[in-house]
Structure formats: structure tokens, C-alpha cells
Amino acid sequence: MTALSAQKRAEARIGLVLASPAILLLVLLVVLPVLATAGFSLTDYRLGTQTIGFAGLDNYGTLWNDPRFWQSVGNTALYTLIVVPGSVGLGLGAALLIEGRGWLRPFYRVAYFLPVASTFIAMAIVWEFLMNPSVGLFNQILFALGLPGINFFGNAQTALFSMAAIGIWELTGFNMVLFMAGLAAIPRDLYDACAVDGGESGWDRFRMVTWPMLGPTTFFVAIITMIRAVRVFEVAAVITQGRPEGATEVLLYSIYVQAFQYFNIGYAAALIVVFLVVTALIALVQARFGGGREASR
């Protein structure tokens, strides 16, 4: 008996040895930086200055009074509010329509999923070209139809919506695949039961079986999309640089500019803390209501 117990103690040591590289790296690359960033946010640290002074909550006060910050938060929120329902709704619609569409089904699946498997920044540059005010495809079509052109990214009224359109294009196919998996998991029996109980039309089947059974999937897809949407960055950083008039200034881009162009470390750290709180809140909503599925990094 003691031989077996000694064996167990040895195993426990092996467990720690196996886990230790991961533990060490987790502390070094995640825990320490997060704590340090929280610490920076309480200082007036700027790269290049010699001294670091404790600034209390000054950085957060500055944030609170900075209209650019509120514009950035507002833009991120509006972007999220367009992209989440847009790409979730279209993803669900596409999944429902593709169900049982025979021989074209593989084609549709590839076509809708292709944006997910592409290199996003390259496609963003293509979108910029498509939306070019003079030679872009969209305006060429509008001109050909005798309509006035749209200055998609040049106009403060349309810039954020143009960005959101690209976001929806990018995420719809991904959400569609998640919904297709959700649909495949619905037991066929339920549709038979629905038919026996008098559910005749496609709408009846959707209302009585599909939609209730897809509830958890929909919630999960919405959360995943939300986490991705608040991390919107590429288009703002490369195509618009937040212009025009800050209309495309989003949270991550503000962080990037403050941290790595102005080297306003203390202020940027405060922005990062705000960003972390926002993403953590979304994830906590998921953990609380989503039945334990985890978000990804």
C-alpha cells in the first residue's frame, strides 16, 4: 500500500514539472504585464522623461474629460451595435437557407467562409479600393446607374458605417458555420413531433423548434462576435487613421496611438485598463448566462 502512495507522490511531482513552463510563462507574459499596466495607469510615465511620478487617478480623470475618448468609446459601441446584429442575423439567415440546399451547399459554404480564411488586412485594402471615391467599383456602378457617388471613407457620416460593412462581411461566414453546427445538433424527432402537432409551414417549424433550440448557440455566437467587434483595429489603423474628424477613432486605435506613437504610457495604460474591463464584462456576461462556454484569446 505504501508503495502505491509513494507512487502517487511521485506523480504529483511530475504534474508540477509538466505544468511549470506554462505557469512560469503565464506569470511572465500575462499576469506581470497586466499588473504592471494597471500600475502604470496610476503614474504620469511618458517614454523619454527621466522621472516617474505617482499620479493617482489623474489619468482616469483626464480620460473622463476628454471628448476624443468619449468619441472613441461611442464609435466602438456603435460599430459593435451594427456588426453584432448584422453578422449574427445574416449568419443565421444564411445557415437556415443553406440547410438542405442540395448540390450547391458546398459552394455556398466555401463562398461565405472565404473571408474568414483570408488575410484580413489585405482584404481591408481591397475594400478601400472598392470604396474609392473615383475609381472604386461601387462608385463606378453608381455612376453607371446615373447616381451620385459616395465618398465612403472620406465622409464623417458614412465612414464608420463603411467600416462596419467590412466587419459584417468578415464575420458573417464564421457565424454561419457556427449556426450550421447548431442546426445539425437539433434532433430530427423534434421536427417530426412539430409536424404531428400541426406545425405546417416553415415558419411554424422555425418558431416551435429551430429558434428555441438555437437559443444557446445564438447567445454564444453573439458574445463571440461582440468580443471580436470591440477589438476592431485594422481598418482604423491602416485605412482611415481615425479620420475623418475622428469618425473612425476606435478604442484599440486610441490605445495604439497613445502608447506607441505619443508614448503616453500612463494615459495609454489607463485606456488599456478601460478596454480590459469592457472585454472582461462581456466575457463575464457569457460565463454567467452562457452555460460555461469559454471565450478565446
Binding site: M1, A3, L4, S5, Q7
Partner: protein, 383 residues
């Protein structure tokens, strides 16, 4: 091949006792079943014997040698699991070869796919191949050797699991509910095959099941385990006809045994359901008892001449026999009587009939302890 001796094994999981002072002797070459309701501790006992679980105290001997300090791999017993536990990424052949290679090849030989290069290992591999092919032929799975477990049906997986146990010629076979994942028809076939296998190998089989019919049909002896204790060990006919405990009597046999609460008065007469009977059971004690009898150990008679009268509440036609359910006033459960087709054919639901008991076949149990109270006649035949 070897005998297995289990002495005073106790085991508790988080304070909950699962086994209490269990002792068992499994003879060399014997087929012994551990049977009991789920959660009675029978699987835990099997796992302790295999070394997969550590007992709190007590000891296990295999082939006369204590194995308490030995890891499962060194105890040289094979186990067939309920889920079959085949290695999912290995072919049937490699599944069966795994125990042989683990035992006969060195770490170095099996480590880097070198088995094919080293002459010594190659000779052994050729031996393994003969062994595996012979076993596969015996089990009728020689056509499946290159398949993966996922490509097999339940019955085929079951045979592979048996094959993996057989090829290594272990000291004993431990089987944990090996048939419970098969459908009813296949279960009967495989049941017969395992019995035949036991006769052919002559090895020690320790077989865990919750299905008393399985235990009755396959075993040399049966150990009935309930609430962590062995209630009785004996040949199938012994535990059926001569149960030592009311719980054993109730567990073994289908349809179930009939039990009526009664009393034995000072003059040695039995009182059943408020009526005194002239039953010559000459009980060893007086007071409250439970009287039990098998469905084929009692009969029906005309209501006028009977001391105990009931109404037929249900008739079950089994084809060969017919089961008559008799509702007796004062008894919650109906009494079940087995009758032949000819006699039962005129019985109708709602008929009033009398119950005829045979005092020689009545089993008397103490009301509080549930222990058997043998009548003098029964003591004589039992010894």
C-alpha cells in the same frame, strides 16, 4: 492460472463505506460471479483485485502471493471493461499486440518502431502474430485485424476486448459487466461464448454483473454482494433454492420470489395475513417472520377448499408457462404463481382462487435481520 484470495477488504470513498470486511476465495480455474445491485461495491472489489483502486485495509493474494504492493501491470491479471476500453488510435491487431509487446519487448525495442529492425524483436513479433491470429480465429474476428475500434460494431469490439485479454495468458480474467453494452439478442450469444471460452481455457474467471440471470447461467459459483458485504457464496442452484438471506432470495430468480409477512405462534403454527395455518414447518424460533416461496413452489386450488383466497389480477403468458398474479387481501404485492399452459388456460381475470402452499418448500426468514431460519428438514438437506 491461479487462485485469488481476498481477505478482510474494506474501502470507503470520501467517508462513504463501499466495502466492509469482504473475504472471498476464488479457486484456480473457477468461474465466479460477483452479483448485486448497482452501487453494491462489486466493481470496486474487482478494481481492488486488479490494483486500479487501493483498499483501505485487507489484502489480496493472487496465486498464493500477496500483491498489495504491486502495480496493476505486475499483477498479471487481464480485465475486460464495460466500455471495452480499446485503444482508439490502434488497429485491432495492435490492440491485441499491445499487452504482449509491453510484457516481452524492452522499452528500447518498442520505443522507436525498431521492432522490425532488431532480429530478437522480430522473432518475438512473429510469435505474437501467431498468437494473435490464433486467438482472432477462435473469436471469429480474424477479418477485422486491420480495422480501428471506431469501425467495429459493439459485438466486435467486445470480442476484441476479450482477445486482448486472452492473448497474454493471464493468471486470471477479471470482467466488469462486459455484456451490458450489447443488445439483448447478442448478449445471449456472447454469454454462451464466454462460458465456452472458460471451459476451453480452464482459467480463473471473476465476473461482475448486476444481472442475476447472467450470473446464474454462466458461473460455477456466485457471490451475492449487497451494501458492501458478501451475503452468500454458492453454486447457482444453492443460492436459488437455499438462500441464506431474504435479500438474496429476493435478488435471485425471475419472476421474483413471493414474500408474505407472518408470525409463528407458540404452538409452532404459522399465521399468515391474519389467518392461522397448519403448516408443518417446525420453526426454530417464534415471533414475526417473513415467509417466502418461489412461483413454482406453490399452486392454485379451488377457492372453497383453500385457507388463503385471492383474486386473479393479471395473467402473463410466457408461451411455455403462464404466470398468474394473485391479489391477496392484506398483502400489498400480488403473489405470482407459475402454472403450466394446460392448467392455466381456463383462468380468467377476476376469478377467485385458493393458494396452496407446500410447507417443505417454504423459506422462513427472521423479520428483523432477514437471516434464514432453517426448518429441521431443510437443515438436514443443506448439510
Amino acid at each position: 492460472m491461479a487462485s485469488i484470495t481476498v481477505s478482510d477488504i474494506s474501502k470507503a470513498f470520501s467517508g462513504q463505506p463501499i466495502l466492509r470486511d469482504v473475504s472471498l476465495d476464488i479457486r484456480d480455474g473457477e468461474f465466479l460471479s460477483l452479483v448485486g445491485p448497482s452501487g453494491c461495491g462489486k466493481s470496486t472489489l474487482l478494481r481492488i483485485i486488479a490494483g486500479l483502486e487501493e483498499q483501505d485495509h485487507g489484502s489480496v493474494e493472487i496465486g498464493g502471493r500477496s500483491v498489495d504492493a504491486e502495480r496493476p501491470g505486475r499483477r498479471d491479471v487481464a480485465m475486460v471493461f464495460q466500455s471495452y476500453a480499446l485503444y482508439p488510435h490502434l488497429s485491432v491487431y495492435d490492440n491485441m499486440a499491445a499487452p504482449l509487446r509491453q510484457r516481452s519487448l524492452t522499452q528500447f525495442q518498442r520505443g522507436f518502431g525498431l521492432a522490425r529492425l532488431l532480429p530478437k524483436a522480430r522473432r518475438k513479433e512473429a510469435e505474437f502474430r501467431r498468437e494473435i491470429e490464433a486467438t482472432a480465429t477462435m473469436l471469429g474476428i480474424s477479418g477485422l485485424l486491420q480495422r480501428k475500434p471506431a469501425q467495429l460494431s459493439g459485438g466486435q469490439r467486445q470480442r476484441v476486448a476479450l482477445g486482448r485479454a486472452i492473448v497474454r495468458h493471464p493468471k486470471a480474467f477479471l470482467m466488469d459487466e462486459p455484456l451490458s453494452n450489447l443488445d439483448a439478442k447478442l448478449r445471449d450469444t456472447v454469454r454462451a461464448e464466454i462460458s465456452a471460452l472458460h471451459r476451453r481455457l480452464g482459467a480463473t474467471f471473476l465476473y461482475v454483473t448486476h444481472d442475476q440471470a447472467e450470473a446464474m447461467t454462466m458461473s460455477d459459483r456466485i457471490a451475492i454482494i449487497m451494501e458492501g458485504q458478501v451475503l452468500q457464496i454458492g453454486a447457482p442452484s444453492d443460492v436459488y433454492h437455499d438462500p441464506a438471506d431474504l435479500r438474496v432470495a429476493r435478488f435471485i430468480g425471475s419472476p421474483r420470489i413471493n414474500v408474505l409477512a407472518g408470525e409463528i405462534d407458540g404452538s409452532g403454527r404459522a399465521v399468515l395475513l391474519g389467518r392461522a395455518f397448519d403448516l408443518d414447518i417446525a420453526p426454530p424460533a417464534h415471533g414475526k417472520v417473513q415467509l417466502a416461496f418461489r412461483p413454482h413452489d406453490a399452486g392454485l386450488c379451488n377457492a372453497d377448499t383453500a385457507q388463503l383466497v385471492g383474486t386473479i389480477s393479471h395473467i402473463e403468458n410466457l408461451g411455455s408457462d403462464i404466470l398468474i398474479h394473485l391479489a391477496l387481501p392484506g398483502s400489498e404485492e400480488p403473489v405470482i404463481i407459475r402454472e403450466s399452459h394446460e392448467t392455466a388456460i381456463h383462468r380468467r381475470l377476476g376469478d377467485s382462487v385458493g393458494l396452496k402452499l407446500d410447507s417443505k418448500k417454504l423459506l422462513v426468514f427472521d423479520e428483523t435481520t432477514g437471516k434464514r431460519l432453517r426448518t429441521p428438514a431443510q437443515t438436514e438437506t443443506a448439510s
